[in-house]
């Protein structure tokens, strides 16, 4: 019983991490049609900013709060300078963002060296339920992920900003004709997606130690999750992330980790092949 509970918690917390990482990726892919290869590096930057705050003696949570804003600002600048040129061509966008990611990743590698740096958990210790112990920080991540998910959903479905964002996605020329500044909306969307990646990086760095390849590890899982969930809506990628995260955390409990690892990808690709529109088809929120 206790074992099963611990396993369930592990699976849930890993699923939450994947959801957190995929949120930004999914918003950018769905709203802008760009598969952002630099997303992993935005996660890395968020983690690095948190590490910097810790290394400079600031409280860790200060770094975690700052990370999304700084990464979001960077995303806004990059969108205006570079990403904007790629909207017409999805493949070129992949290559361009890949180049951007390469620059960011190697710069961070140069800054931290080849080390694995650790950042302590801001909320340490464990929560005890009877005889079972679960990590307090992982529990916090689950809670924050839920809050962020609800927040994003409300932002997109209930605010005028969300309405304009969706209008821009659905019909850019009509949106322009209605007085919405589509370039600004694209910039804001990209910045928002980047900020979410920064937040994800900041939150997961105590769990996984900081190394230059932190982001790339999640990137492909993120892409697969977005495709499984379905591009074009907010809910789709989140659902996909839930499925992929749960599967990749759950399967290693019942089979050899190597096989599980590969099996998740094979299953996902096969699923997308036969249902290209993903779990949740259609536009909307």
């Amino acid at each position: 019983m206790a074992n099963a509970f611990v396993a369930a918690f592990e699976i849930l917390s890993f699923g939450a991490i994947i959801v957190l990482i995929v949120l930004g990726l999914g918003i950018i892919a769905s709203m802008m049609g760009i598969f952002n290869f630099a997303q992993g590096e935005f996660v890395l930057l968020g983690a690095y900013i948190t590490y910097l705050a810790y290394a400079k003696g600031l409280p860790i949570w200060a770094g975690m709060v700052a990370a999304p804003f700084l990464v979001g600002a960077l995303g806004f600048v990059l969108e205006a300078l570079i990403i904007r040129r790629f909207y017409a061509a999805p493949i070129v966008a992949m290559l361009g963002t890949y180049a951007l990611g390469l620059i960011i990743r190697e710069s961070v590698r140069g800054l931290i060296g080849g080390f694995y740096l650790t950042v302590p958990e801001p909320i340490g210790g464990s929560i005890d339920i009877g005889t079972m112990h679960i990590s307090a920080w992982r529990f916090t991540i689950i809670v924050i992920t839920l809050l962020v998910m609800v927040g994003c959903y409300l932002l997109l479905s209930r605010t005028s900003f969300g309405l304009r964002m969706r209008a821009t996605l659905e019909n850019p020329s009509l949106a322009r004709a209605s007085g919405i500044s589509t370039p600004l909306m694209y910039g804001a969307t990209f910045a928002f997606g980047s900020a979410l990646a920064g937040l994800a990086g900041a939150l997961i760095v105590p769990v996984f130690s900081l190394s230059a390849d932190l982001g790339i590890r999640f990137l492909i899982q993120g892409f697969v999750a977005v495709m499984v969930g379905g591009v074009g809506s907010f809910i789709g990628p989140v659902a996909g992330a839930g499925v992929i995260g749960t599967l990749s955390a759950a399967l290693p409990w019942i089979m050899a980790p190597v096989v599980a690892d590969v099996l998740v990808f094979v299953l996902a690709i096969a699923f997308i092949k036969f249902r290209p529109q993903g779990l949740i088809a259609g536009k909307g929120v």
């Binding site: 493949i91 290559l95 620059i103 140069g110 190597v258 590969v262």
Partner: protein, 364 residues
Amino acid sequence: MSKSMSAVKQAIPAELGGETDVAMTERVAIAQAVAGRKVLPVVEGVVLVAALLAPLVLQDYLTVFATRVVILALFALSFDLVWGYAGIMSFGQALFFGSAGYGVALLARDLDITNIFLVLPAGTLIGLTFALLLGGFLLLGRHPSSVIFVSLGTLTGSYAADRLARGWYYLGGQNGIPSISSMTLGGYEFSEGPAFYYLVLGILIVVYLLCRFLVRSQFGLALAGLRENEQRIAFFGYKAQHLKAIIFAIGGAIAGLAGSLYAFHEGFVWPNMVGVVVSTQVVLYVLFGGSGTLIGAVIGTVIVEGVSFWLSDNYRDIWPIILGVLLLLVILFRPLGLISFVLGERERVGSFSAKRKEKRNAAP
């Protein structure tokens, strides 16, 4: 596919995007005028002469490096065929390169087979088989797959293979398979050096010529049409998906050949060889050099590898950053690659129609 392309073109009304007869004749005239001073054969000739002379002027350790570059150029050629000519973005080309490498490494380790006439065909076959399986799955089917799906599918395939190779004890896990014995021909052993270099160069030249013939054939023209406008090619009655799967398989076979040569040249294989790192590296080569020209892939490989070798002593840490910046600049400002500085768009696409038309006019 027997119909000549130019005849088909004339049959399309102008509204559909086809050219009128006047525009056609004009373009043919331009093509004929340009035909007198072609740049592409000159570029190819220069590269060939430089490649032939390289071992004579290079020191031994540089010849070893040059051999590696030639093998990678062969690998780049396979990607150029797939992306530059058929417009299939394969982010997983290393899957075929690496699995062939692993395959021949296992042949050498477990079965003691190192004969060149066995291992190279075996490697090619492995690449071909994997490409047929993956390409068949990703490209064929009731509904044509989206470009995004194919590129992410190949990327995922390559990543999954990397993870598999890392975790599979039989394949050596993280360390890969070290100290593969040399490739042999009868009693002769190919070890690093000029002999290996010329062997690899000879293979590259043969494959290059075959590719060149292929892309200048009717099949190649159909591929180019596929790249420019897949829907229209499908409307002409071509089986667009089948064409794609065929070229993907050919690309996989070439990558497999390159991978088996690489395994024997380096003497070991390791998981990165099937993974995302090598997959994206080959994309870099081709984008730098210029996709859709074949020779651009070769030049791109030589430049990227050459500069990285040259810088690696002093600037090893910042080289990847420079590479990223350069790549970004090329994508933004020179989408056709470095070769587009000397090669016009007209020649890149090819001037088949001009020649064919001349012949046909002369015949009756």
